[in-house]
Amino acid sequence: MDCQRAEELLSDHLEGSLHPLLVAELDAHFAGCPACLELRRALAEVVETLQSAPEFEAPQGLAERAARAALTRPRPIEIRPALVVPHWLNAAAAGFALIALGASLAVIGPERPTRAAQRLVGQTVNAGSSLIEQKDRLLEDVRVLGIVLSTAFEGRIERVNEKVNDYKRLLERRKPSREVEPKQGRENGPAAVRVVTGFRTGATRAA
């Protein structure tokens, strides 16, 4: 073994991770090479010095400066993942739609649908869409409320006000579409009553 190879193995020798055959070879080299043996001892001293290094004293006032520096930079707002719609809710909505569709078909029968039956289908579709829309709004409201609460919890009042204002603006934006709804309701409302009371199937019309 030459000195260069011996140097490559010094850390492994120190850490005891060297194969026994290489340990024997290296020890034999040390026996004939005082320079490498001296280097091996110095290497052990270096590692010991590093591993037992005492802590440095931090400069005066560094803690205050570091604390202040952190406070001057705002925490990034954590983007929370959008609310996950529970599977059961999706399944319920789909089930509702299927039942409504099935019921409509059963009532209408194989004949050409009457105007009343068409209205029923239309109303069911409208009701389904409205239900889905309401669900989306509810989830959005819950999400906004969650943001407001977490901001309030963090103690940032100005952000809370900002979020509340955002929510007010959101409600303002929703207003026009809500104003339309009662109109549709009024239009369809009486028809729904008529469907129940004065319903005619294709079969009865044929009769």
């Binding site: 110095a42 931090a58 570091a66």
Partner: protein
Amino acid sequence: MITTDADLLPGCRSGDEAAWAKLVERHTRKVFGLAYRFTGRADEAEDLTQEIFVKVYQTFEKYREADGPFGAWLMAVARNHAIDHYRHGRQERVRRAEDPLLLELAPARQEHPIAGLEREERARLVHRGLRALPPELRLPLVLCDLQGLSYEEIAKSLEVPLGTVKSRINRARLELAKRLLARRHELVDGAS
């Protein structure tokens, strides 16, 4: 009454600046020590310490008690930030042989004065040598012998192969050992 991290954390979470200042004060020395060993300069270490606490403050919400002690989490954040700092090569300046900002090591307690002087001299030489090492040798050595990370952890942190880590650590240690021997030989030659 002794204040612990656990006592201060709820206050920090609710925006209590005094609690945050106390928490920073409790950990500044350790974080600065790590930063100094990474950068090798007191002024850079100060900047890095501040950056680390900004990072800790900004990622504070991610800490969960179940992850273990806060101090260990904070030091992991500090170490990762210091590694990023090194990896991006920011503020990596040309090292000067004699750095006026070299910090003195605190003397160990209950030690014979002669032994203390020898230890101090050796520590000064080793740490000066450490600062003079090129970053690719200094960093793995700091992580291994000063931070106590395993070779595997270092390889993962620095994104270099395990064999490279081992060989760089050995080379770094050899470099310091040779400096130590050279200085001793100088002293012996000077005395004779």
